[in-house]
């Protein structure tokens, strides 16, 4: 199907169904029930799932395939956002030109930064990309927001004001980002005794793009180009000995992943027309590394899983407060209850980053292959149990035979 083999096609269909039915799947608990806090089916959060999914898929093309660890990918995300908001300010609120421009801008910057950074590999590459990202952050945060040449609006963040020109804007169009007149905020809410499901047009725009991007990444993974990138990861030196120049391949991978990041940035701005410099900070770069590793670097589905996992738990953990904890541990005796709440307290609410850091360390230490590898390990344990059972039978059969010999 679509040039995919059976296994990939199945994966693709699974992702397709999951993203399309996300409004149902993420709202499994009825409104008003005590478990409703675990619902994640609001438009805002679902948009972030898929957008960061795109970001992580793109990062995985670079890190997962070539093994080049970039610590500055958030810079492209930020550039994409700025580019999109500029389109909103100058031209129109239509998201199509905004997203196109953000991809182009991020791609151009990725070409320049990649051309320079890829002259080095290993740690030096990481440090170089980090330096470039920090430089972009510093530029966006302070330098490019001087009154004479205000490109980024500094600390406040770039946003659309009512006196912006917007040359192609017409009064009949909604006064917010839209796709040919369909506002990204328009939501159809389906109520079914107790359950509510939100179908948001912005989410479906992002989801459609993510599915497309996921398909593209499968094709890249399975193409000769992807094979070449994998060869670079396993042994670049040997590849060079064969007379191949590997740099065009790594540069292409870098630019592609930069464009993915720019696309994600553009979508972020399209869902909420605001771009701030903090999107480019090293913490944001670290987050996408984390998503990819957590899901499983170098696997197809891993980055999407990782992005969803992190954004979901970020949302849930930030909402939990001490009152909720007291409810959870209410079955314990009073002293124990308070003790448990005190122990868990640093990890929830504002402490989400602490949990994230710990999780990151645990994954890197014990599960370098991420959730996908974890799933495979669990799967293997079950399969081995089956085989052991059948193996015992075979053993018994053999023993029965032996005396006869």
């Amino acid at each position: 199907m679509l040039g995919l083999n059976k296994h990939d096609a199945m994966l693709f269909v699974i992702v397709l169904i999951l993203t399309l039915l996300a409004p149902f799947l993420l709202n499994p608990f009825p409104q008003g029930s005590s478990l409703a806090q675990f619902n994640a089916g609001y438009p805002d959060l679902m948009q972030r799932f898929v957008i960061y999914g795109i970001f992580a898929i793109g990062f995985n093309i670079l890190f997962g395939l070539t093994g080049y660890l970039s610590f500055g990918h958030a810079a492209f995300l930020g550039m994409g956002s700025y580019a999109a908001v500029w389109i909103f300010k100058l031209l129109t609120y239509n998201v199509v030109p905004a997203i196109l421009l953000s991809v182009i801008v991020a791609g151009l910057f990725a070409l320049v930064i990649g051309y320079i950074s890829l002259r080095r590999s290993g740690i030096y590459f990481s440090i170089l990309t980090l330096a470039f990202a920090q430089m972009s952050f510093a530029l966006a945060y302070s330098v490019l927001s001087n009154p004479k040449f205000n490109l980024t609006n500094g600390e406040t963040g770039l946003q659309v004001y009512s006196n912006d020109p917007q040359w192609l804007h017409r009064a009949s169009l909604p006064d917010m980002p839209h796709l040919f007149g369909l506002s990204v905020r328009s939501t159809y809410t389906l109520r079914m005794n107790g359950w509510t499901f939100d179908f948001n047009s912005g989410y479906y725009i992002c989801a459609a793009i993510m599915i497309l991007m996921f398909y593209l990444s499968i094709r890249i993974f399975r193409s000769p180009f992807g094979m070449m990138l994998r060869a670079i990861k396993s042994n670049q030196q040997r590849l060079n000995y064969t007379g191949l120049n590997s740099r065009p391949y790594t540069l292409a991978a870098f630019v592609i992943s930069g464009m993915y990041a720019g696309l994600a940035g553009g979508l972020l701005a399209a869902m909420d027309p605001l771009a701030g410099a903090e999107r480019m900070q090293w913490t944001a770069s670290g987050e996408v590394v984390l998503m990819t590793i957590l899901g499983g670097a170098g696997t197809l589905i891993g980055p999407v899983l990782g992005a969803g996992f992190i954004k979901y738990f970020e949302n849930i953990f930030s909402k939990i407060n001490d009152n909720v904890l007291h409810q959870w541990f209410a079955f314990l005796p009073d002293g124990m209850e308070d003790l448990m709440v005190t122990i868990v307290h640093p990890f929830i609410g504002k402490g989400w980053n602490l949990t994230l850091g710990l999780l990151f360390m645990i994954v890197v230490i014990f599960l370098p292959g991420g959730l996908v590898e974890g799933g495979q390990r669990v799967g293997r344990v079950f399969r081995r149990r089956d085989r052991k059972a059948s193996g015992a039978e075979a053993e018994a059969a053999r023993q029965r035979r032996t005396p006869a010999e």
């Binding site: 330098v143 360390m361 230490i365």
Partner: protein, 343 residues
């Protein structure tokens, strides 16, 4: 002339911090071959040792002061630190005043222990793993350390003033024969510079003139051979990790009065310190120190009004620009050895 001198002086305090952190980073890289992304966090933890001691010494209880009256004429309740109660008013007050230098005594053992635990508990398991894994796990550790500090001390910067004896500025220009008020420099920054010179000299002397240091240097050159000679090199490298952590902590503790510590100061310094290490040459100790001071001075030179009006924002990006140029033209850095991490 005096303007140039002033810029050099202005660069010294940041340069000292860069040099100290970069020295620790290089020590760890040279001995254990690990890129420690948590080193900035260690710097930050050191700075918070100063805050911790300051708070500890300032622990107070309420007493009723008969000599002061509130507006109703009742005796006023005042906070009196325990230290003043135990040692008398004057000695107690001066102990509190000197809390930042005193924190050095606290920082050294704390950082040695943190460094030792970190190496034995975590880093040790990563020698055989790829550099990317080392970067990632220490990066995670940096986040964790940062968030723990944030949990206890909040997100806002906390002031840790220097002792009142070192407050204010000194007119260096007068001493050197320039006009008055041409070169006015805060005393504490001079102290910081002198302190960092002492620490750097101490580390070098330790490596150069002690048997322990000799073994470590031999281990840096050829770890396996040293191990075959029957020397437990791993143990010594662990101690060196502790020392590197202590150097970062000391850099942090004395930096607290210059820049009020907050939980993310470490990461801000870390990125720059990496740049310093790369510019100086991966694995070269003198290179790290030299590049630290050089880049510190360069940064302050780029912050002059002349430079910022010529190229706006040059002060924000100068260090990165230099790093990029150095990496591309001379990948082994200013003083790096040939063949060490040149890929």
């Amino acid at each position: 002339m005096d303007a140039i001198l002033l810029q050099i002086l202005n660069g010294l305090d940041k340069g000292s911090a860069y040099a100290l952190i970069a020295l620790g980073l290089t020590l760890i890289f040279g001995t254990l071959g690990v890129v420690n992304f948590a080193h900035g966090a260690l710097f930050m933890v050191g700075a918070f040792c100063a805050i911790f001691l300051q708070r500890l010494l300032g622990t107070s209880f309420e007493i009723i002061d008969e000599t002061q009256k509130d507006f109703l004429g009742n005796p006023l309740k005042v906070q009196a630190p325990y230290i003043e109660y135990w040692f008398g008013k004057d000695i107690g007050a001066s102990i509190i005043d000197w809390s930042v230098p005193l924190a050095i005594l606290l920082t050294i053992p704390v950082m040695l222990v943190i460094g030792y635990v970190m190496e034995r508990g975590l880093i040790r398991h990563f020698y055989k793993r790829p550099h990317a894994d080392q970067i990632l796990v220490t990066f995670g550790l940096a986040i964790v350390l940062q968030e723990i500090i944030k949990y206890f001390y909040g997100a806002n910067p906390i002031q840790a003033p220097e002792p009142s004896a070192f407050k204010g500025s000194v007119d260096l220009g007068m001493m050197l024969g320039f006009q008055a008020n041409a070169i006015v420099y805060p005393i504490w920054r001079l102290v910081y510079f002198a302190f960092s010179v002492v620490i750097i000299a101490g580390v070098f002397a330790f490596l150069q003139f002690t048997t322990f240091g000799m073994v470590v240097r031999a281990g840096m050159v050829d770890r396996e051979t040293v191990g075959m000679l029957g020397i437990n090199i791993d143990k010594r490298f662990t101690i060196m990790f502790g020392i590197a952590a202590a150097v970062a902590g000391l850099a942090g503790v004395m930096y607290a009065p210059i820049n009020a510590p907050n939980y993310h100061m470490g990461m801000d310094f870390l990125v720059l310190s990496f740049v310093v290490v790369v510019v100086g040459g991966m694995g070269s100790l003198p290179g790290a120190v030299l590049a630290g001071f050089l880049l510190g001075i360069l940064e302050s030179a780029a912050s002059t009004t002349w430079a910022t009006t010529t190229i706006p924002g040059i002060n924000q990006i100068i260090i990165y620009l230099v790093a990029i140029i150095v990496l591309l033209t001379r990948p082994r850095g200013l003083m790096g050895r040939k063949g060490v991490m040149e890929d």
